[in-house]
């Protein structure tokens, strides 16, 4: 040891070197350690949008929020690069009907009290509160209270910033009776002014759709509290950018860099994802690991509660819901969600250069694709927030934009995948894709809402469809429901069947022109302090427990109606009465594929067809009031509204009214009756006639007449005859199966239709060839009755059949190869071959061609007429065949004629020459 220290002391440079080395090593260790720690801490948070630049958050004065501490203004913040005025000004999400505002009832097809086609102004029983028009004596919702209640479903901007006259809300004066500056205090019933300066306005909220985790609960809470200008700031809560401290919003300096811009890791700007859209529109479940659970008829997700649609790629069998037959439900909620499409893939921004396509009507014929479009940068500066939309029944806002979105045909080619479907074009024309591809809803949906009564929470009494048991409990069995099929009038004028849910609502209206009774008035009528009014309890409480349960809360007697109406009148309301309304809701999502789609013909082509399946609208009708369909949907209501004994209200669509003729369902009863009658009549007739002949011949055996063998029928004649026989019999058989698919369910409807068509084609060819033969060979002469003496001869022949046969008389006319047909035969075959057969064939061809030549077919009466004729002719053919076969037994021997038609040679009775003269 000593030697080492001596050595070190003798070489000072070694000391310096070793100390330096040590220092370097230590520093290196620190650096490495830091790096290791950094690695251990995990990678830096990935910016959601790698190319979006950082930016400062500005308030409505244009100042950085860090300096002013104020609420963020999306218009100013995002407006630094994007044209926010343009965006807000061109968006029906923001405008929500403000642009089409009118006086109550002015818009066509609207209710007498509706003010616009959008959620700002169009009343819906769902929310019930009524946005008051100007100078409304009974103020319900002022603009400010509209924002507080319905604003949660509104993105901001539009009516949340501007008045109906176009001024900024925070710049208009308070005028008495003006709903824009005053609100109804629900507690006191007083109309109080609203201080827009203090509340601020709600600018269009970019963060709601364009950030990855917007805090919608905080936003809704801010709106409900009336602190409108903070709503957009609240959306950023819990993202690290802003915090809520003692009910105040405080910006976190740590989220900003030294220049006052947001740090890049906090810039999480993105295209709207399904979850963003789902915040307002409907339930979206994208979480791969967590099972989906839905409890109750939850009204927070509007589209889900009105239709039962849920957008999720999860299999039904993997959800956390108590679905009926859940183990077998291996399908996903929605095939497009499963295949990872986004809402914006179909509901794109209309000037998005990726999706933009020129409308067919303006596109010149020589172009199939026009590549000229907005540049990406231009688009990002002025993205049109008018989104492509469909043709839903319930949404009337921005009608000019209906059907701008991708429909199924934009992406799918139907022909190759539907080769198995006969009459493809006809099906596709009559049915929308959704009809067969959304056969069943698996979640529950609203069925009826009864605002004629109130629960103690000031809620209506309502009922859900598709769920058994207490809907609020997770143990309730969710059975789902089959949507009703109604005709929908598309934007292009075509009418198609599409699936819907229908919600029936009842509510009190009063005054003239009508308007719904305000909630506050309903509360005053129903409640007394915190409980129901004593009169009401007395009348409604049937089991005497002092409470009104769901079953008791029904106006099912005139007495109850009068009581409530009376109490409303006492409040000063004029002519309060109950009104009922039925609103259809389109179903376009929760599409399925494969084995879950309707492929069985008999679902529609049978007596229990789904096309005319009745749909339960309501379990009862409050006040016995029959509801009316809303007038502004694109659905056509030409079916039957009726009640059962139980009081349930049903709607049954009608094929006849829709102009549809569904094979197997819409049979003309009178054609069947008439034809059946004819058939049975013939059967009876020959039973009697033949019976008498048989008995007669048993009693007195008939002496065999003298016969000679004559070659009566050539090979071709026989072939033509028998081919026709077999084909016609087969046509009748297959036709019967098509006519009554329920009775003959064992056969595959699809195959029978195809076989029927093939047989008809064979018959046609056979008939044409036979006609050619008969004309060119001259044989046709035999079929043409000679006019002179026709009637006499016909009567003679008839008399023979009715009397002569029994008297064993000879045939009045000798059958010769040159003259095979007696007059009766001539006239019958004339009718069969020249009238009935062509008629049958023609109607058949037109039925088949209903998809090829729709205008010709409908011009000739359409399927209802053609089908009836076709059915009737078929019956007559059947009757003819019976008669014909029977009459062949009237030859020299009972089997002589049939043998002749098979072998060609006939044993003819020998006629005396005198009798021969009588024939010609």
């Amino acid at each position: 040891m000593q030697r080492i220290t001596n050595y070190l002391k003798s070489k000072p440079w070694i000391n310096i070197a070793s100390i330096s080395l040590l220092v370097i090593l230590v520093m290196g260790g620190v650096v490495v350690g830091r790096a290791a720690a950094a690695r251990a801490a995990g990678p830096a948070p990935v910016q959601a949008s790698p190319i979006h630049p950082t930016f400062p958050l500005l308030d409505d004065q244009g100042e950085n929020v860090l300096d002013s501490g104020g609420a963020v203004s999306t218009m100013n913040t995002c407006g630094a690069c994007h044209d926010t005025d343009f965006i807000e000004g061109h968006s029906f999400h923001a405008k929500a009907g403000l642009d089409d505002f009118n006086a109550p009832g002015e818009a066509p097809n609207s209710r007498p009290w509706d003010l616009s086609p959008g959620i700002f102004g169009k009343w819906t029983p769902f929310f019930y509160r009524y946005l008051s028009p100007e100078s409304d004596e009974r103020l319900d919702l002022g603009t400010a209270s509209w924002i507080m209640s319905l604003g949660e479903r509104h993105v901001g901007g539009g009516p949340a910033v501007y008045s109906r006259d176009g001024e900024r809300l925070d710049q208009i004066e308070v005028r008495p009776g003006d709903p824009e500056t005053q609100v109804l205090d629900m507690e006191t019933g007083e109309v109080v002014p609203w201080d827009w300066q203090e509340s601020g306005v709600v600018e269009m909220n970019c963060f709601l759709c364009h950030t990855s985790e917007p805090n919608n609960e905080a936003r809704v809470e801010a709106l409900k509290q009336g602190s409108f200008k903070w709503a957009n700031t609240a959306t950023l809560l819990d993202s690290g950018i802003v915090q809520s401290i003692s009910d105040r919003y405080v910006w976190s300096p740590g989220a900003f860099d030294d220049d006052g811009n947001l740090r890049s890791e906090y810039v999480k700007i993105q295209d709207p994802q399904n979850e963003n859209c789902g915040l307002c529109h409907g339930l979206v479940h994208d979480d791969l690991s967590g099972p989906l659970t839905v409890v109750g008829c939850s009204p927070q997700r509007f589209r889900t509660v009105t239709t039962g649609q849920i957008i999720s790629s999860q299999r039904l069998s993997d959800t956390g819901m108590n679905l009926a037959n859940k183990d077998e439900l291996s399908r996903t909620w929605d095939i497009h969600a499963e295949r990872l499409l986004d809402c914006t893939d179909c509901h794109f921004s209309l000037n998005d250069p990726v999706y933009f396509r020129e409308d067919e009507s303006t596109q010149p014929e020589h172009l199939s694709f026009d590549p000229r479009r907005l540049e990406l940068g231009e688009y990002l500066y002025q993205p049109l927030h008018q989104f492509a939309r469909g043709e839903s029944a319930q949404s009337t806002v921005a009608p000019g934009l209906k059907d701008t979105m991708r429909r199924c045909e934009s992406c799918h080619t139907i022909e190759s995948s539907h080769e198995w479907l006969p009459y493809q074009e006809r099906h596709i024309k009559a049915l929308s894709c959704e009809t067969c591809h959304i056969p069943q809803m698996y979640s529950n949906a609203l069925k009826q809402q009864d605002w004629t009564v109130l629960t103690l929470d000031s809620e209506p009494s309502g009922q859900c469809r598709g769920v058994l048991g207490d809907v609020q409990s997770t143990a309730a069995l969710v059975v789902g429901f089959e949507p009703v099929w109604l005709p929908r009038m598309n934007v292009d004028g075509q009418e198609e069947i599409a699936p819907f849910n229908m919600v029936s609502s009842w509510f009190w209206v009063s005054e003239n022109p009508e308007r719904p009774v305000r909630l506050i008035d309903l509360e005053a009528a129903w409640f007394d302090e915190n409980d129901y009014h004593a009169d009401i309890l007395r009348l409604f409480d049937q089991d005497g427990d002092g409470e009104l349960g769901r079953e008791e809360l029904v106006i099912d007697s005139a007495e109850k109606e009068t009581l409530i109406a009376g109490r409303l009148e006492d409040l000063g309301l004029e002519n309060p009465h109950i009104k009922g309304e039925i609103q259809p809701y389109s179903i376009n999502h929760t599409v399925t594929t494969g084995e879950w789609v309707i492929k069985d013909c008999q679902v529609c082509h049978s007596d229990t067809s789904r096309v005319t399946q009745p749909f339960l609208l309501a379990a009862y009708m409050p006040g016995g009031v029959m509801p009316e369909f809303v007038a502004d949907s694109n659905t056509v209501f030409n079916g039957d509204l009726y009640t059962e004994e139980s009081g349930e209200l049903f709607y049954q669509p009608s094929t006849e009214e829709q102009g549809l003729y569904v094979l197997g369902l819409d049979n003309s009863i009178w054609a069947d009756r008439l034809g059946g009658f004819a058939f049975l009549g013939v059967l009876l007739g020959i039973a009697i006639h033949g019976g008498v002949r048989v008995i007669d011949s048993m009693r007195k055996p008939r002496p065999k007449p003298e016969v000679k063998s004559v070659y009566m029928y050539g090979v071709y004649e026989r072939l033509w005859h028998w081919l026709q026989t077999v084909v016609i019999v087969a046509l009748l058989a297959t036709g019967l199966i098509i006519h009554k698919p329920d009775i003959f369910g064992i056969f595959s409807f699809r195959y029978v239709v195809l076989v029927h068509n093939v047989l008809a084609a064979i018959l046609l060819v056979n008939a044409v060839l036979a006609l050619f033969y008969h004309v060119t060979s001259g044989e046709i002469r035999q079929f043409i009755p000679r006019p002179r003496g026709f009637f006499d001869q016909a009567i003679t022949q008839a008399t023979y059949y009715l009397r002569g046969v029994f008297r064993r008389e000879r045939h009045p006319f000798e059958k010769k190869p040159q003259k095979k047909l007696n007059p009766l035969q001539q006239i019958t075959y004339f009718g069969i071959l020249n009238v009935l057969l062509p008629l049958q064939g023609l109607t058949g061809i037109l039925i088949w061609g209903a998809q090829r030549w729709p205008r010709i077919v409908s011009g000739l009466g359409g399927l209802p007429f053609l089908g009836t004729i076709h059915s009737l002719s078929a019956w007559l053919f059947a009757a003819f065949i019976v008669l014909h076969v029977y009459l062949t037994t009237t030859g020299s021997t009972p089997l002589a004629d049939i043998k002749a038609m098979i072998m060609g040679w006939e044993e003819i009775e020998v006629h005396e020459p005198e009798e021969e003269e009588a024939s010609l």
Binding site: D286, L288, S289, S313, Q314, R315, S317, E328, S330, T332, A337, E338, R339, L340, E419, W420, T593, G594, Y711, V715, R718, L719, W722, L723, V726, V727, A730, Y751, L754, V755, N757, V758, L759, A761, I762, I902, M903, G904, W905
Partner: protein, 480 residues
């Protein structure tokens, strides 16, 4: 013609032909139905009742074997050619190694109980023979073959140390109750590999004895026996395990019965060129009973509370998992196998049986794996993994002395032990092919392609999600 007596026959035929031919031509037939997978499933030979045939006094297992061989003369000889007997593969040429190598339980290390050498009596209780107690086992003696372990249908047969039947087994009853191997026969060893139920494979455990269809659709819904897929001709059993085989010769595949493009959906069929059947159809491994995912030998020897699934003094600490999500890698075969004596880099995890495959190999498919990670002893001077003696005298399981155990073990295998040891990280890859879920529970698009999905595209070699970027052929990632 006029006088032809049988003109009506001709007429009938002609008429019917004129009708039937057009119908057949114009009616579209159903799509050609896919080959029926049942056509490829073997028909079981009828069972022969051995109660009258095997009457006798059997003292030892070999007594039974002798009796079997009286009729089944070739059976033992056939077994002796197979790996169930030899526990050693044929020699392989491996890239990167100068000489051909053999692998197998006989000599290879794994990262479970590590290796059988020096531990034979304990490990060879699963040998298809009797008496492999030490290195001098006579592999040529046909009477050492154990017929009963595979053919006992009575359920009364249990093997113990060195493969001998345990005390109390009624050999006569067992011998009379023989038949074709059922799931319990194979499972008596393969379900409990690694020292307990479901420890090793991740897709084989005692639940497969009588599984519901939700656990395995073949064995559950259709009551498949192991031998229905792992068919045997002359006792050569189909199947290859990544741990003891280096090739795919005589491998059992899904496509032995199922057509590759059997999905009705075209989009699903398009996946077949990059994704193995197992990937989508086995969404989770170890569906009911947990499997061992981590084995830390370095923690062994402590006197703390023991629990089969977390800690045992003789073995160390473990982590078990059930319903685990497999890890996904490209797989076209085995690239290499760790052999005794190979040096390791103790600072990184040693992959003992790396699956061969990458995105560029057109034959490679994305496969689900159970990856078992362990810490096992290695020589810090020579930098290779060591074979410890665990069973028997001086073994770790009695003495709890690593140095002694490693010394004894190294002597037996003929390797130098420096005396200095530590524990290195190792991993082994076990492809999952059992516990196939019913078709309705297969993975769907979102499971891989949605955000948070199972596949790490960049790690697999893609530029990004193939839905957006195109598949690997379109992207030009595949080398021809």
């Amino acid at each position: 013609m006029k006088d032809f007596k049988y003109i009506w026959v001709v007429g009938l035929f002609f008429t019917l032909a004129l009708i039937i031919v057009p119908i057949v031509i114009f009616i579209p037939g159903d799509e050609v139905s896919a080959e029926d997978p049942w056509d490829s499933v073997p028909v079981h030979a009828p069972h022969t009742d051995h109660s009258d045939l095997m009457q006798g006094v059997y003292e030892t297992g070999s007594d039974v074997t002798r009796a079997c061989l009286e009729c089944h003369e070739d059976a033992a000889w056939q077994i002796m050619q197979t790996v169930h007997w030899t526990w050693e593969s044929e020699p392989y040429e491996i890239e990167g190694r100068d000489e051909p190598v053999t692998i197998g339980k006989k000599t290879s290390l794994n990262n479970f109980c590590i290796g059988i050498q020096s531990n034979w009596p304990g490990c060879t209780s699963c040998h298809a023979g009797y008496g492999w107690e030490d290195a001098d086992f006579d592999f040529s003696n046909a009477e050492n073959v154990d017929c009963l372990v595979c053919h006992d249908n009575s359920g009364l047969y249990v093997k113990g140390n060195a493969g001998y039947p345990v005390e109390g087994v009624d050999l006569e009853a067992v011998a009379q109750g023989v038949g074709a191997p059922n799931r319990d026969n194979c499972g008596s060893c393969h379900f409990v590999g690694g020292g307990g139920n479901g420890v090793k494979h991740g897709d084989l455990d005692a639940h497969l004895s009588h599984p519901p269809e939700s656990v395995d659709v073949h064995m559950g819904r259709h009551d498949f026996l192991c031998i229905d897929c792992h068919q045997a001709t002359d006792h050569v059993i189909r199947g290859r395990s990544i741990s003891v085989s280096l090739d795919f010769e005589n491998q059992a595949y899904c496509t032995d019965c199922h057509a590759e493009d059997l999905h009705e959906d075209e989009r699903l069929n398009a996946h077949v060129s990059a994704v193995a059947c197992q990937t989508c159809h086995i969404p989770e491994g170890a569906v009911k009973d947990p499997t061992k995912m981590l084995w830390d030998w370095s923690a062994a020897g402590q006197d703390i509370e023991e629990d089969e699934h977390t800690y045992l003094k003789i073995k160390g600490a473990f982590v078990y998992e059930s319903d685990f999500t497999p890890e996904y890698y490209w797989y076209a075969g085995i690239r290499d196998r760790y052999l005794l004596g190979d040096t390791i880099d103790p600072s990184i995890s040693t992959n003992m049986n790396p699956p061969d495959g990458d995105i560029g190999n057109p034959d490679a498919l994305i496969f689900p794996f159970k990856v078992h990670r362990a810490k096992q002893p290695y020589d810090t001077v020579y930098n290779y993994l060591l074979q410890p003696k665990t069973v028997g005298e001086g073994g770790y399981w009695t003495e709890f002395d690593w140095e002694q155990a490693l010394q004894l073990g190294s002597e037996v295998v003929g390797m130098e032990f420096s005396g200095e040891y530590d524990f290195a990280d190792t991993e082994m890859y076990w492809p999952i092919s059992h516990m196939v879920a019913p078709a309705g529970r297969a993975l769907n698009c979102a499971d891989c392609h949605a955000e948070g999905g199972r596949l790490d595209w960049l790690a697999l070699g893609y530029d990004g999600d193939p839905i957006e970027w195109g598949n690997r052929f379109q992207e030009g990632l595949v080398s021809e």
